[in-house]
C-alpha cells in the first residue's frame, strides 16, 4: 500500500534520507526502526507530502499524496502530538480537520469516544498531559476512517494501560485489512506489535523482513554448554569448526546447532550438564545491525556493547 522508490532528501549539506526504497503491505503492522537521526520522521513527512523529496517518490495505493482527494479519508497520521494550537479545544481541533475533508461532525464525537477524551473535549489542548495529547493525535488520525495509518512514536507518554490499548488497537486495525506503519524506539514494544520491520540507519535501508527473520538473522544464535570435561569438549568443537567462547564455567558455541553439539559430545564420550540454545533479543539484533549507523553516539558505547553480550 505504501511504496517508496529511491527516496532521497537533502537538507543543505546533510543527506537525511539516502536512496531509500521499501514497501509496506496492508493487513499487517509494519514497524519502522532506526536509531536517532536515521531519517524516520523525514521519511514519514515525505510520505505525507509535507517535505519534498530531493529525488525519488513515495506512493500510497499508487498515488502521490497530493493526488489524493480528501486525503484524511485515505491516510491518517500521527506525526507529532504537539501539533495542536494550545488555546483551541480538542473538539475544535478535530472539527476543523473533519470539515476540511467533508467528514461528518458526528465522527468527531465518535473518535473522541474511541480514545477516551470525551470528558475533556471542550478543554483547551494546551492544558493536556502528554498522554492526552497523544490520544488526541490518534483521534485525529482516525477521523477519516482511513485505510492507511502512520504513527510516529505513538506510545510516547502513554501509561502501561495506554500502551497495551494502542498495541491491541493497532493489531485490530491491521486485522481489518488496513496498512499500519509505526515508527518507534521501544524495541521490546515493537517486537510485540509489529510483524514486519523496515530498519534504516543514516538514511539508508538496512533491512526489510519479518520481525522473526530480523531477530534470527542478526542476533548470534548461540548454544550454551556446560560439562565437567570442558577442555575436551572445547577441543572437539573447535575441530568441528565451531567458534567457542569461554563463559563462566561454560562454553558459548556459535556455528553449530544444539543437535550437532550433542552428537559431537556423545561421539567423544563427554558428559553434558547443560545444552541450551540462546536466541537473541530484538534489542541485540538492533544494536548489532545498526551499530555502524548510529548518528549520534553517546559515551555509552561500552555499555551498549555489554547489552549485546548480556545473554552470554
Amino acid at each position: 500500500m505504501i511504496e517508496a522508490v529511491g527516496l532521497t532528501k537533502r537538507y543543505g549539506k546533510t543527506l537525511a534520507v539516502n536512496d531509500l526504497s521499501f514497501s509496506v503491505a496492508a493487513g499487517e503492522v509494519t514497524g519502522f526502526l532506526g536509531p536517532n537521526g536515521a531519517g524516520k520522521s523525514t521519511t514519514m513527512r515525505m510520505i505525507l507530502g509535507l517535505d519534498n523529496p530531493t529525488s525519488g517518490q513515495v506512493r500510497i495505493g499508487g498515488k502521490l499524496y497530493r493526488e489524493l482527494k480528501e486525503p484524511l479519508r485515505t491516510v491518517g497520521a500521527l506525526l507529532d502530538a504537539k501539533w495542536v494550537h494550545p488555546n483551541r479545544s480538542a473538539r475544535a481541533h478535530l472539527r476543523w480537520m473533519a470539515k476540511s475533508n467533508k467528514i461528518a461532525e458526528s465522527r468527531v464525537d465518535e473518535v473522541l469516544e474511541t480514545v477516551g477524551l470525551t470528558s475533556v473535549a471542550g478543554k483547551r489542548a494546551g492544558g493536556f498531559s502528554l498522554g492526552m495529547s497523544q490520544r488526541l493525535g490518534i483521534a485525529a488520525a482516525l477521523l477519516g476512517d482511513p485505510e492507511v495509518l502512520l504513527f510516529d512514536e505513538p506510545v510516547n507518554g502513554l501509561d502501561p494501560e495506554g500502551i497495551l490499548w494502542i498495541r491491541k488497537f493497532m493489531h485490530r486495525l491491521a486485522e481489518e485489512g488496513r496498512t499500519v506503519f509505526v515508527s518507534s524506539h521501544l524495541l521490546s514494544e515493537m517486537a510485540l506489535t509489529a510483524s514486519h520491520l523496515v530498519v534504516i540507519g543514516k538514511g539508508r535501508l538496512i533491512s526489510q523482513s519479518s520481525t522473526e527473520d530480523f531477530v534470527s538473522r542478526a542476533a548470534e544464535n548461540t548454544v550454551k554448554v556446560r560439562s565437567p570435561q570442558l577442555p575436551a569438549l572445547r577441543a572437539a568443537l573447535t575441530q568441528a569448526s565451531a567458534q567457542v567462547t569461554d563463559a563462566d564455567r561454560a562454553l558459548v558455541v556459535s556455528g553449530l546447532d544444539s543437535e550437532k553439539i550433542g552428537e559431537i559430545a556423545a561421539a567423544n564420550q563427554i558428559v553434558l550438564h547443560e545444552l541450551s540454545p540462546q536466541t537473541g533479543s530484538l534489542e541485540q539484533a538492533f544494536m548489532q545491525i545498526t551499530g555502524d549507523s548510529v548518528e549520534y553516539h553517546t559515551g555509552l558505547e561500552t555499555e551498549a556493547a555489554e547489552v549485546v553480550t548480556a545473554a552470554q
Partner: protein
Amino acid sequence: MTLLAVERIKLFTTRSPWWCALAALAVVIGFAAIVSGAAPAGELTDVSLTQFGYGFGMAVIMVLAALSVTTEYRFGTIRTTFQAVPNRTAALLAKTGVVATLSLVIGEVAAFGAWGLASVMRPEDLALNTTAEWVGVAGVGVVFALASVIAIAVGILIRHSAGAISLVLIYALAVENLIQLIPKIGKDIYDWMPFHVADRFLTGSGRAAAEAPLSQAGSLAYFAGFALVLLVISLVVANKRDA
C-alpha cells in the same frame, strides 16, 4: 467554500482575533473621541479628521493577520493543515479570504463608529455629503482588508511571530515616513510607498491633489496591486518550501 468554513472555525476558536478586534475598534473610535474633544468649536468640519486613528487600528489588524499565519507555523498546525489539504494555495487563500473579510468588517465598524461618535460630540458639518467624504470613512475597511492581506503574506514568508509583527509594525508606522528624509529622491520615493498611497486614497493628504501621481481610485488600485503581488510571492514560496 468548505475551506473558508475551515478557516473560519480555526480563526474563531482561538482568543487573539477577539482581542485584536476589540483593540482596533477601541483605538480608532477612541482617537475620534480625542480629536472631537480637543478641537476648538467650529473647527471640526473635515470628515477625514474623524479617521485620525485609523493608522493605529490598521497596525492592530495587521498584527491579527500576521498572527493567524505565524501561530500555525509556531504550533505546527500548518503541517496538520497541509496534511489535511495538500493544495496549499487553496488553504492559504481561504485563510487570507477569511481574515481579510474580518478586517473589512472591523474596519467599517470602526470607521463608522468613529464618525458617528464625532458627529454626536460635535454636530458641526460632519455629514457625509461628497464622494470623497464617503470614501474617507467607508474606505477604511477596504484599507484594513488589503493591509491584512499584506500582513498575511509577510507572515507566510517569515513564519516567525515576533519577526513578522516587528517588520509589519515598524514598516507601517515608521519606515515610510522616514523615507522622506532621504535627500533629493526621498519625497519622490515616498509618493510611491504603498501605505502612503493608501493614505492618499482615504484622505487625499500629502501633496496637493494636482501634483500627486495617482488619483484616489488609482491609489486604491496601486495599494491593492501591491498586496496582490506580495500574496502571490508568498504563495509560490509556501508551495515550494517544505511545510
